[in-house]
Symmetry: C2
Subunit: 171 residues, 2 copies
DNA sequence: ATAATGAGTTCTAAAATAGAACCTATATTT
DNA sequence: AAATATAGGTTCTATTTTAGAACTCATTAT
């Protein structure tokens, strides 16, 4: 599979991988959330090659996650900012960082915090249901396939893939 | 930067990229959440090469996200299951899928749903603070660098990277 | 005896990434 | 005036990763 084949996949997770499915893109977005906007700042802070950085910024722009806008003329210079779409990625970032803290431990001190804008208190993220307020995790939620009609995909037989797709919490 | 250089990074997001920072791993985990457990099922459903699948499953096992356990002898066969750590990834998956649905639109129907175990209602995920219950997004939360002591990283000057790291919502 | 299943491994070719040098336009320093 | 610095890239070769297909091995089914 090639990079951009993911972009028109029916699965939203696959499309997400078309954006952040590499080693650098999420780190570029992290820098954006930390306030970095310029090519050289990204490059120096991340240590990514200029070549790859240019390519990734272009991709993120094309995907509508970042926008490139001039901040001066003579000479013309542009900076990269999160779009509305990019900003809405914040909860994913928060959830992922929380998972990694708890499940991929390190002896090093964590180099950032997420704090409330009013008050500056460090946050403790938990995913909930908008209506019921119920906590959403593997205990409370089940991922179920919607049956699809395409007879060419050998081996796919929702809703029961393999022997039992049901009990994920028992795994 | 090489793949496994990310695994001992001080930044939890970088460490997360050491696990899911490629085009396939998250899709493998998606299949796990859908109940897939066997090598050939993953391979046929995803269309990933056997070579890469074997390598990724091994990595996920090493990282403690999946465990490999025998499900029969004669001949000996193993299956892959989510560990506690792997299951705790569910909220990240949910948040990411929600972001992609809303921000990377597609004409195709979404091939799965997340439903409550009790009731089977489709969920509407929102990240909140565990204590206050406040919604956590780019409007309410700020990502701030913790000052680090290492004088070799040219150009890094928290808390104000670039001109203004402060106002991320104004970006 | 032959084919099928399940879980890989081993090849070669193609694609992506690393690392360094180069380019353009302007501004500043010597 | 000439040299150096800043900002944002592009171009090049070498290395690493991934794709794609074929092959292995042990056992069971036909």
């Amino acid at each position: 599979m090639k990079w951009h084949d993911l972009n028109d996949n029916a699965c939203p997770l696959a499309r997400a991988m078309g954006v952040i499915g590499d080693r650098w893109t999420l780190l570029i977005l992290r820098e954006c959330f930390l306030g970095v906007r310029r090519f050289d700042s990204f490059q120096k802070r991340l240590g990514v090659t200029r070549h790859l950085l240019a390519e990734r910024l272009k991709r993120l722009e094309t995907m509508g996650v970042l926008e490139r806008r001039p901040y001066q003329e003579r000479p013309l210079r542009h900076e990269y900012r999160l779009t509305a779409s990019g900003k809405e990625f914040a909860p994913v970032m928060l959830a992922m960082q929380d998972w990694a803290r708890k499940n991929l431990p390190s002896t090093e001190p964590i180099p950032f915090r997420f704090v409330t804008r009013d008050g500056g208190q460090e946050v403790d993220p938990v995913l909930t249901d908008r209506i019921s307020g119920q906590v959403l995790d593997h205990r409370s939620v089940l991922m179920v396939p919607k049956s699809q009609r395409h007879d060419d995909t050998a081996g796919v037989s929702p809703p029961s893939a393999d022997q039992n797709a049901q009990d994920l919490s028992a795994g």
